[in-house]
Amino acid sequence: MCLFCSLGCGTAFRMRGEEAIAIDYDSENPINLGALCPRGHYNLEYLNHPQRLTAPRLGPRPVSWEEAANFIKQELNIFAKDEFGILVSCLTSNEDTAAIANLAKTLGIRNVLSAGSAADLEAYEGFKWEVPGAELATLEDIETADALLIVGDLLTRTPVLSKRVNQVKYGKRGNKIIVIDPNRTHTAWFATDHLACRPGTEAVVLAALSGDLPVAEAAEVTGLPANRLTAAANDFKAAAKGTVLYVPQEGAQRHDLGVYCAKKIAAASPNKKYIVLYQFGNTLGVNTIIDREAPEHPTYHDLLAKIERNEVKALLMFGEDISSGHPELQKKFRMLKFVAFSGHFESESPAIYDTSVLLPQATQMEAAGSYRLADGRLEKLAPVAAPAGERTCAEICRMIGGNLVGGPAAPELVSKKKEPAEIVAGLKAIEPLAAMPLEPITHFGNDHLVKNFFWYRVNNG
């Protein structure tokens, strides 16, 4: 199974002995019918990458597992418990996350949090807010819908859904696909109604559709005419069956409010459901487990602020190094006194190289585990290949913190209550990131040619 987005497509490998040598297409998988997006093809490279870690390292020096474990235990005694932070990658399986949460409990560390993309974590906050009557959509709900309300660039995040989107577009006359995105994206090619709002105001458009904000007020902020907003709301409400697809994209948007409004739209009329498509495979599973095991954990931004104020001095990272490729984060991570990184690749953390212990961890394809995907289904994954010297995340936790017993690995999804007044206040504070010109964009480089084109002259006088 591929975990590079939260759809969970089936993948297959051609094997030579115990080594995967080529990607194969699993045409009997009900999720993707053999289709794979470009990211899905990276699974093979991920597994066989020449820079995979195979032995533990102390800075540049390779060491034995015992030496590395002793070094970490020694450091654990030096720092106070509140000076430690634990970051869990959102590709970690439910069982491994439970083991990490247990490790934190036995060590007394309270700063445990998931390290997905910031947009995902914000969207998950909105996902937790309780809206009575809102249901998670399954993939069948998407292909049998009469109306889709898509927020963000769905077909770039999850191209495998394009078969299902095509079924809605060409399946029946009168089907609606409403796309909310400031850019003319690949998803917008398929839209019957493309609401190109000002950047950063997607949540306001959704609030206008759900009735949280008056349409006139939303029209002013988003730059869309009020009649298009009401028409889109009525279209979606009138459809016999509909699905809201929310894609949390990188950028300064309020994804928590957006997801909350998407849930409200789904709950407002019968036969409507919603789904949030996260960037990392197990965002739902990892976050629910951490919320249950460590209810008082700080948010991602809180932890970064703590690192900057020098309150957190040591960091344990599981799964992936979030600072790789982010120079600003690397600058912050250089202030840390000690970093232990349990991951897959050796060149991933150039910024924290001198003070770090690197532990090779088995990838999601080399260890068994269960994952909770975007539509709420729980998938169990059997190992594809045998690890070459790596250990699984649970084994590494056991090594650092002694014997641990985990709780139930996959808890039910929890929900929180939120005051409506607080949400309206949040929505009113949203401002567009840039004032876009609202003239029709011609989409042709040669303006002279376009303006002499008869169709342009017919429409624009």
Partner: protein, 160 residues
């Protein structure tokens, strides 16, 4: 008649997974061309395996050859990477980027065909736009007027 790869432009979402599959199947050399039609579509350009291939006629070293089953193949050993075929191709499907001094040229994934499977680009297509079928009249007609309903409606709809 032999099976060929056909494209339905209405369904294609421009994700380029066909190009990725092609690259991973052919030693990281993508044999597929790609085109972008302004802001309305992004589509793969497949080798049509012509009846009278211009690329074979242009090749100075007889590296391109039309086989008995109709596929136009390029010899690994004879190809010198002069890119004459890329210039000669009337459809622009042969790319000019060289890898290991070889011009990229679609071979219809002969290794997979031998196993009775579809070519990689068709097997991986996320939107169902690519199909590997025998060319009957309907398919040929659709290909002849390769107009996309989706693109036309977008084009007209945008001018308010």
């Amino acid at each position: 008649m032999a099976k060929r790869v056909y494209l339905n432009l209405d369904l294609c979402c421009g994700c380029r997974s066909c190009a990725a599959a092609c690259a991973y199947g052919h030693h990281l050399q993508s044999l597929l061309g790609h085109s972008r039609l302004k802001n309305d579509a992004e589509l793969p350009l497949h080798c049509l395996h012509c009846d009278q291939p211009a690329c074979a006629a242009a090749c100075p070293n007889e590296a391109m050859k039309k086989m008995d089953d109709g596929t136009v193949l390029r010899s690994q050993f004879k190809c010198v990477g002069c890119r004459s075929c890329a210039v000669a191709c009337p459809f622009g499907v042969i790319q000019t980027t060289l890898e290991k001094h070889l011009t990229p040229k679609c071979d219809l994934c002969l290794d997979r065909l031998a196993e009775g499977e579809r070519p990689r680009c068709v097997a991986t297509c996320t939107s169902g736009a690519l199909s590997f079928v025998e060319a009957d009249e309907q398919v040929v007609d659709e290909q002849k007027n390769l107009t996309s309903v989706r693109m036309l409606s977008n084009f007209i709809g945008r001018r308010r």
